[in-house]
């Protein structure tokens, strides 16, 4: 089988004519440095282009359509599901040069941005004006808003504020045939025609290239308080999540860590946890300063009967940061447990979190595999990490067994195999566990209608296509 892409010097020259010579890179080094994302997989593109405008992008897509060249939008390359991997080679369109905040409208609470703006930079800019853009993926310091839209990124604050989807009002998109379209608009209400905005949010770069984003903003909450609560066992912590919500309090953030995650960070300098602490929650509440203290007291009251060991309430920003350090230290310290990490981001209905955790613990014991769980308990989103050494004989198969079982249990509890990282390449084998054939067929019909040539981020989301793609893709 040959590779789909057949890029030649004529194509390169055409690209240079569109964006300028210095923004077209095709040396081996340049292709190498754009061949990966946070999945740590590699696929070589044929050329890397750094466009600066919607019009340039439309011209590039038209060129690609004419010559049937695969095409792939890339933000910061921080994706966890392989969305930015050029499995069929072709043109990688890097959107990081399109990084202007075009407008912050303080009367209508709207921001208009280019896709390459880094999430945290927008947040800083609006917060200076007393406004607030809530979606806060842990990667916010480097991920782009275009990538956030394409993956419908979430984060700790989503319990209360929702995900990226809930803040996108309108988009400018270059479609796979090179058309420039505009979806939604600057108003909260808008029912004219199909809701294409929602279609493009979470479409993982397979339906078109987002070149401008209209985002909804909120007033910035006046104050925020952070609390760390430790528990004797995971059940207590998991029950606490439901108890708090049942108690009619929606915290800004409700993060949890299980015993395995705690074990990874317990001995780090500056982290001091009770010896019998087997689970913990980090809880944040925001709003009017006067309301927060009573809210925290009420939360403590609700947690008391559930094996609560201790609570620490941060008195200032530095103390809050110290509490967060406990949670942020988990990911980097996981490597201690095994060189290969399988990082899944399943999500189950909030009330099912205790059940899911119990199932994961049972599985971990049965297969003798370290499974570390932490994440956004408040919205049922659990980061399940299998830490293994794939060099061990039979490990590959064992991991596959574990993953399949984890996803089956997730779906049977009414959950979803990916809460925020997307399907991309990594989750393709499991999409069928969640979506039945007719549903998948509708999705593929949409893809075929918008991208009749199959050039826009080919080989992603849908399994059959991908296996083909993997066989074809030039890997490093």
């Amino acid at each position: 089988m040959t590779k789909m892409s057949m890029l030649n010097e004529r194509h390169l020259q055409a690209l240079r004519d569109i964006v300028g010579t210095e923004h077209v890179a095709s040396s081996r080094t340049d292709r190498l440095t754009h061949s990966f994302d946070a999945t740590q997989q590699h696929c070589m593109p044929d050329v890397v282009v750094h466009p600066k405008s919607t019009e340039e992008i439309a011209a590039i897509v038209q060129l690609a359509a004419k010559h049937r060249l695969p095409l792939l939008p890339r933000g910061a390359g921080s994706g966890f599901s392989g969305g930015a991997l050029p499995v069929q080679g072709g043109i990688v369109l890097v959107l990081t040069r399109m990084n202007r905040i075009l407008e912050i409208d303080t009367s209508n609470l709207i921001a208009v941005v280019e896709p390459g703006v880094v999430t945290a930079r927008l947040q800083e800019a609006v917060e200076r004006l007393g406004l607030f853009y809530p979606p806060d993926p842990a990667s916010k310091e480097f991920s782009t808003l275009g990538g956030n839209v394409a993956e419908c990124a979430g984060g700790p604050r989503c319990v209360k504020y929702g995900v990226t989807r809930d803040y996108v009002l309108g988009l400018t998109v270059v479609t796979p045939t090179g058309e420039i379209i505009r979806t939604g608009g600057r108003t909260i209400k808008n029912v004219v025609g199909y809701d294409l905005t929602r279609l493009f949010v979470g479409s993982e770069g397979t339906l078109g290239i987002v070149t401008e984003i209209i985002l909804r903003l909120l007033p910035k909450p006046a104050a925020k308080r952070t609390m760390l609560a430790t528990f004797t066992q995971i059940d207590g912590a998991a029950e606490a999540v439901s108890a708090i919500i049942r108690g009619k309090i929606i915290p800004t953030t409700l993060e949890f860590m299980d015993a395995g995650a705690i074990g990874c960070v317990r001995d780090l300098p500056g982290i001091d946890l009770p010896a019998d602490c087997q689970a913990l929650l980090i809880i944040e509440v925001d709003g009017e300063p006067a309301q927060l203290e009573p809210q925290l007291e009420r939360i403590i009251e609700l947690m008391q009967p559930l094996g609560l060991l201790a609570t620490t309430i941060a008195q200032d920003a530095a103390a809050a940061e110290a509490l967060w350090r406990v949670r942020r230290s988990v990911s980097p310290s996981l490597r201690k447990l095994g060189p290969n990490k399988f990082n899944e981001d399943i999500v189950v209905p909030r009330a099912k979190v205790p059940e899911m955790i119990r199932a994961l613990e049972a599985l971990s014991q049965r297969l003798a595999l370290p499974i570390i769980n932490f994440g956004h308990a408040g919205d049922g989103n659990i980061h399940v990490n299998l830490m293994v050494d794939l060099q061990e004989p039979g490990m590959e198969a064992k991991v596959q067994t574990a993953l399949t079982e984890i996803f089956r249990t997730t779906v049977s509890l009414g959950g979803s195999v990916s809460g925020e990282h997307g399907i991309g390449l990594a989750k393709q084998p499991y999409i069928g566990l969640e979506l039945d054939q007719p549903t998948l067929a509708v999705m593929q019909a949409i893809k075929a209608a918008l991208d009749p040539l199959g050039i826009m981020n080919p080989g992603k989301i849908f399994p059959a296509e991908s296996r083909l793609a993997l066989a074809q893709g030039e890997t490093v």
């Binding site: 890179a25 946070a38 390359g77 040069r97 990084n99």
Partner: protein, 437 residues
């Protein structure tokens, strides 16, 4: 040593890069170019492929590697502390070895010991007297740092008549009950800003410490590291280790953030193998400590506060902001210099926006990449202007040199100074007032 051998010493570290991209957030070059090849992650992918023999040092690789300021911001922001700066340094030495020293920067590395170039440098700049250059050793980083064409339009401080060695004795005695310290100056302080050396050692002397200023000390090695000059680097490690080897001191104090970082990096065994210098380099590196860290650790800020009890009238206080040198910030030192400034009665401290943004000097970077260096530098202007400060203090003479240039180009009504210069001024003012009383 072959590239493979030197690089393979970093195999473990290279495999610790999980390709998350967090290093982009802080990399000054990435922020200025928005291109992955320049960021740590890109460099590490390249290094990994080079090590595996699947890539070569083509022109684009040389370009990407030459865009690094060796500022360490990536290391600091990396969840796994992958030492990208050290790995880039290894690759640069290889580039220089294979393709000649000049490749990494137009004329930069070639300056060492090339009289003709040196001559044109002096004419081009119109600033350096030949007398001055005679006084700078061949191995000095200053020769590596500035090339003729960057000097033409750069603002330089008036050159001091006497360098540090002429101004300071070899030993400044303190009180017998206090320990003895050694001072490492580095080229920028020795030859361009000897008053910073004077301020640092005098403050220490006021606090009771005996300070030694060894005559045989040389360049810290940062410019050699930055331009990939492996031979020069070894020579410097040997000289500096020898200069400080026989002193009975627990601490070697620096007032230059870059020197501090370079000494730590260069003297780790991976750069120059232990056998090569005949001295214990690691123990030398372990003694090196930044002056701000030292003052804070030893509780000197309290002593200083007591010495400075005289109050300054509010109207006479000077508004001062602080610029974080990369080589302090990225080693976790941000609190200490600010604490010192807040101790000084005549200082009205204001925090500037973008205090942590890189100034763009980066070893030989400003010479090899003048345009990019300025793009990075210009990001400071807004914060400096908005601060309303009359002085911007910093803990690195390189940053001060660069800030002076930025201030001049932007036409801002302020000056750049070293924190220790302010500390000495405060002490002298307090002592003078006490005498009057």
């Amino acid at each position: 040593m072959s590239i493979h051998k030197e690089l393979s010493a970093y195999r473990q570290e290279l495999s610790a890069c999980v390709r998350c991209g967090a290093c982009q957030a802080q990399c000054p070059t990435y922020l200025a170019t928005s291109k992955e090849g320049a960021a740590a992650r890109g460099n590490l992918v390249l290094a990994t492929e080079l090590l595996a023999g699947r890539a070569e040092l083509d022109a684009e690789a040389v370009r990407d590697l030459s865009l690094c300021l060796l500022c360490g911001a990536c290391v600091h922001s990396c969840p796994n502390q992958v030492p990208t700066d050290a790995i880039v340094s290894v690759l640069r030495r290889e580039i220089s070895k294979k393709k000649g020293l000049g490749l990494l920067g137009k004329g930069v590395a070639a300056l060492t010991g090339n009289p003709r170039l040196l001559g044109s440098l002096m004419r081009g700049a119109g600033l350096f007297s030949s007398l001055f250059f005679e006084k700078i050793p061949e191995t000095s980083g200053l020769r590596l740092r500035f090339s003729p064409h960057t000097l033409q339009d750069r603002v330089f401080p008036p050159l001091p008549r006497q360098n540090m060695f002429a101004r300071l004795p070899q030993k400044l005695p303190g009180r017998p009950d206090k320990p003895t310290l050694a001072f490492f100056a580095g080229c920028t302080i020795s030859y361009l800003y000897p008053e910073i050396a004077e301020a640092t050692v005098r403050v220490l002397q006021h606090l009771g410490y005996t300070v030694l200023v060894p005559r045989q000390q040389g360049c810290c090695g940062m410019p050699a590291l930055s331009s990939g000059n492996g031979e020069l680097l070894k020579q410097l490690v040997r000289a500096n280790t020898a200069a400080f080897a026989n002193l009975a001191v627990d601490h070697i104090i620096t007032a230059c953030a870059s020197c501090g970082a370079a000494l730590h990096q260069v003297h780790q065994a991976q750069h120059v193998q232990p056998g090569e210098t005949g001295q214990d380099c690691t123990s030398f590196a372990n003694k090196v400590m930044d002056i701000h860290v030292f003052l804070e650790k030893e509780g000197c800020l309290h002593t200083l506060a007591d010495l400075l009890t005289t109050t300054t009238a509010t109207s006479q206080r000077i508004k001062v902001c602080y610029h974080d040198p990369c080589h302090l910030k990225n080693h976790g030192v941000t609190r200490e210099p600010r604490a010192l400034l807040r101790t000084l009665p005549m200082v009205d401290y204001v925090e500037m926006d973008g205090a942590a943004l890189c100034c763009g000097l980066g070893g030989t970077f400003s010479a090899s990449q003048p345009d990019l260096s300025r793009t990075i530098a210009d990001r400071k202007i807004e914060g400096l202007a908005a601060s309303g400060a009359e002085l911007v203090a910093s803990g690195c003479p390189g940053c001060i040199l660069q800030l002076t240039d930025i201030i001049h180009r932007a036409g801002l009504p302020m000056q750049a100074v070293h924190t220790m210069t302010l500390a000495l001024a405060a002490l002298e003012q307090a002592l003078a007032t006490k005498e009057e009383m």
